[in-house]
Symmetry: C2
Subunit: 127 residues, 2 copies
DNA sequence: GTCTATGCAAAGGCTTTGCATTTGA
DNA sequence: TCAAATGCAAAGCCTTTGCATAGAC
C-alpha cells in the first residue's frame, strides 16, 4: 500500500465525527460536510470512512435501518439503538464483556467486540 | 395485519435454520432450499426471514461482509465473527450483559441485545 | 514530477416490492 | 371463496469502483 497524504476532506470528516456523538451515517456526514465543501462527494466520504476505520481512528456500527453508522470515539463503550427512531446512544462499557479473553482457546483471537442493546428510547417509549 | 397461513416454504426455512448452527445468509438458505424446492424464490426467503424475525422465532445478526446472517436459536448467547473468513460462531452468554437493566432510566426500555466479538478464528489465526 | 485523493457517475450487491398466479383454510 | 403466500423480475438503497483531474510532497 502507498503513503498517506494529507487531505482537507479527510481532516474535516474526522473533525466532524469527533465533534458529535450521534453516530451519523455516511450520508448524514456528507450532507453536513457539503455545506463547508460544496464539491465534497459521497464517494470520498465512504473512502475516507473506510480508511479511518482501518487506521483505528473511528468505528463502524451496524445500524438498524440498513445503513452503517460511524463513531468517532474508539474508547471501549457499548451502544443502545432505538428500534423505532434509529437513534444510537452511548452506554458505559460492561467490565465483564471487555475482559473476556478467549485468545487461542476455543475460538481464536479476539480483537474487538461490539455490544448493542435494542429497545425503545425515552422519547419513543412514552408514545 | 392479516392472518398467518401455513406455507410449506416457511416451514422448510425454519426447519433448515433450526438444524444448523452456521448462521447462514439469506442466499445460503436459498441455495440449500432450492434443492428440495426448485421453484423457491429469493424473495420468498427474505419475506419469511423477516416474518420469522418479527415472530421472534429467529434472529438477525449483522454480518461482516455486507449481508445479514440468520440464527435459528433465540436463547441468549453471544457471537464471534471471524474478520477474515466471515464465519460466525456461538459463545456462552455473559451474565452481566444479559442482566443489565436500564428500563425507564437513562435510556428507555431495553428489549434485546447483541454482543459480537471480532477477531480471527482458530483456522485463520494459524495462517 | 509522481503518486495519492477527489469528483462524478456508473456499476455492484443485497434486499424489497409489484403483480399475476397459486395455495391454504 | 378469498385472503395470504409465492415466483419472477424490476426497482431500491447503500456502498464501491473506474477514470480523468486536482492536490500533496
Amino acid at each position: 500500500m502507498g503513503e498517506l497524504k494529507y487531505s482537507r476532506q479527510r481532516e474535516a470528516l474526522l473533525k466532524e465525527l469527533r465533534s458529535r456523538r450521534d453516530h451519523p451515517s455516511a450520508e448524514m456526514l456528507y450532507l453536513t460536510l457539503k455545506k463547508e465543501y460544496p464539491h465534497m462527494s459521497l464517494g470520498t466520504v465512504y473512502r475516507n470512512l473506510a480508511l479511518l476505520c482501518e487506521l483505528g481512528e473511528i468505528k463502524k456500527i451496524p445500524g438498524n435501518d440498513g445503513s452503517e453508522r460511524y463513531d468517532g470515539f474508539v474508547e471501549a463503550h457499548d451502544h443502545f439503538v432505538c428500534s423505532k427512531c434509529g437513534k444510537v446512544m452511548d452506554l458505559e462499557p460492561t467490565a465483564e464483556t471487555a475482559d473476556r479473553k478467549i485468545k487461542n482457546k476455543d475460538i481464536g483471537c479476539i480483537e474487538d467486540y461490539s455490544l448493542i442493546y435494542y429497545g425503545l428510547c425515552k422519547d419513543c417509549y412514552k408514545k
